[in-house]
Symmetry: C2
Subunit: 417 residues, 2 copies
């Protein structure tokens, strides 16, 4: 069997992306909003399940609402582990049409290629759509895959209270997606996730395919600086305890010294910042800001955290302010499976596509699945790196090329049971 | 005539401060709110005018609502210029009882000392209460004294529209303080303003009297940094246009380089700052912040502005952002009259009070009056430097000592016609 005898129905893939993208769409803003377990997301789930049934897949829902469409293996002999592809179909508010959906629907397109060719795979193929990847309504994000990989007890997930006061388990029941399958019970032999990059690197580098070999570790902190409010005109500099200046010095230090120590890998961002009382001629009494640190190497990520923590001590002493930090999120970096990455690279190469090894900056279900199976991701370019936005865009041709590479890798994986 | 034969009624001064401080007071918050030309401020004006009439002063109201209480000279021969003392009785929201009121009521106490001793001064003594010093409702602040000194046409002041949509002239009519006296028509021979420091310097230095020899120049700007919002995890540092980082670098530069170039005189404060969209994992698209620069020397203030402007160009280039600045306020520094400052210093010395030369960091009516008459200010300590706050406090003993020094200086000035 060569890797080219199966054919993707590329037109149907694009059509399904458009159809799913219209569910929950706001005609004025252009974006769609299918936040996990809302009515709009239920409509998306129903559409997905209908498409799975049209392919005569076995549809199973696990206890946390993850949806799996299963194409059975050619032979039921023994119990060979399944190949799993997947991603998610929930969205942020006013989102693009591709994030998550592309990976799920490309998975369906791969299965469809098998169906249409009448080929039964040597091992089962499973297409998964994981619950609440975005984490907009219920924390943490990537929840469905985290539960599936054993990182969060299913009961804890069901008992999660959302920002609207609802209980996740109750909402699952309400929309009819409280399944009975035990999460994690289909243990994949490997997990593949095709995704838009959501960043500008592929476009900037002029590459068609990103071979994602690892995923950054993420460290989120909230920093609160407490100083003393005083009159901007009458307080000599030496007598100031300026929470705003201390915060600004921290943000500058993050870029200049923390990122500066590992400029090719460490990322630091302060996205949110508030001053109190926030008045032109009053020295800020309080400054609150967030720190988002990322690095694909755990040692370097820890070094960045340490460098920043040391600076907090230094600036607190120097300015006479107190600084408290609260850890919000901490994920260790994930290294994807080298053999799968090699296969992705080889597949792109065989098709004559330009490609590059890269790190995923965003979190994905693949990072959770990597806990229980060899995993890897394939990226296609995002125009201007924009995502979580109605302007999220990848050219149709690129979407198709990514799905082709996915199909090639699936065929290769299934050729070696 | 020695400088000690007149006696202050110190108990009455403190009582009047308490009485005026109770007008517009909020029993829950403790502070009082007598924003210019509101009903509460009218009540304060009515009380002040009543006290002026009790002292049998001639009360005159000018076209912008400034109130003057005039103790006529011993002889009407010739037209010797008056000695003027004053300040303001309007307040910010939830203010202390002393800011402004202390200078006005201490002026009345000085006049009362003349009245009670049956002494007629060689020149007229005028106590002024200037309209809208705080600038909460109508911009600019120090408006009444600015108009009086000829820095703003009276019609422009009357036509000012407030933050509540009201026209200043209409509100003056409404509360009955649209006077007919032409602003500036009593040209003072000298102007003296006693005030709480509103800063921490006297307390920190352990001094009882501040001899204010100058007043800082003030430069207010609003800075808007426009960058590009992008994902904090997927955007390499070299591809970022981070408005938040650029703003932080500016704030750090202000302290470290602009203040650093003249640490004893230049002050820089960023009191207000906003990020957009202000989300933890999104690189800020936009940052807006204020810059409050002060220095008692115009050359140094210009040098500080220049240094900062040069850095804006540099950081805009380096980070690939655009930066716009809007000038909000610009006052040149004011140098007070050296002879008056010497008299204040000598008076404090004669009374055995500790004293120091200092710069006023806040703006005061005296800076406007300095345009038309030799002017100076006397400061007394503010506990913890707090002002514009119900916790504003100066010990009664200190309030009395300040008024004594004022009386001494007035007597000296009037001894030399």
């Amino acid at each position: 069997m060569t890797t080219h005898e199966l054919t993707l129905d590329t037109a149907l893939l694009l059509e399904q992306l458009a159809t799913l993208g219209a569910i929950g769409q706001d005609c004025v803003q252009g974006g769609r909003t299918r936040i996990a377990l809302t009515d709009a997301e239920k409509a998306g789930r129903d559409q997905l399940v209908q498409w799975m049934r049209e392919l005569e897949l076995e549809v199973r829902i696990d206890r946390v609402g993850n949806i799996f469409g299963i194409l059975a293996a050619a032979s039921a002999d023994g119990d060979p582990q399944a190949l799993m592809m997947g991603s998610h179909i929930d969205t942020v508010r006013n989102a693009g049409a591709l994030d998550g959906c592309y990976g799920v629907l490309a998975g369906l397109a791969v299965v469809r290629a098998y169906r249409q060719a009448g080929v039964r795979p040597l091992r089962a193929i499973v297409v998964g759509a994981f619950t609440n990847e975005e984490g907009v309504r219920y924390q943490p994000d990537m929840m469905g895959s985290l539960v599936y990989a054993g990182g969060l007890p299913v009961q804890a997930a069901l008992d999660t209270i959302g920002i609207d006061g609802t209980r996740l388990g109750d909402e699952l029941e309400r929309i009819g997606y409280a399944g009975t399958m035990e999460s994690g019970s289909i243990v994949p032999h490997e997990y593949l996730e095709l995704h838009i990059e959501q960043g500008p690197v592929l476009e900037a580098e002029g590459k068609q395919i990103g071979v994602v070999e690892n995923l950054q570790g993420i460290s989120w902190q909230k920093v609160t600086v407490q100083g003393v409010a005083n009159h901007a005109g009458t307080t000599p500099t030496r007598m100031r305890h300026d929470a705003g200046y201390a915060a600004a010095a921290c943000i500058a230090f993050l870029r200049e010294e923390v990122v500066g120590a590992a400029p090719d890998t460490t990322l630091a961002t302060t996205g949110a910042l508030k001053f109190e009382p926030d008045v032109i001629n009053v020295i800020p009494r309080k400054a609150t800001f967030t720190v988002d640190l990322r690095d694909p190497d755990e040692q370097r990520l820890q070094a960045a955290e340490k460098r920043f923590a040391d600076f907090l001590v230094e600036i607190a002493e120097r300015e006479g302010v107190t600084i408290e930090t609260e850890r919000l999120v901490r994920f260790e970096p994930v290294v994807f499976d080298a053999a799968l990455a090699n296969r992705i690279e080889a597949a792109a190469e065989r098709r004559g596509l330009s490609h590059m090894r890269m790190t995923s900056g965003a979190g994905h279900d693949a990072q959770m699945m990597a806990r229980i199976a060899p995993s890897a991701m394939i990226f296609v370019p995002s125009r201007s790196g924009i995502s979580h936005n109605p302007r999220e865009h990848t050219d149709d041709e690129q979407l198709i090329l990514g799905a082709q590479v996915l199909l090639d890798v699936v065929q290769e994986c299934l050729a070696t049971p």
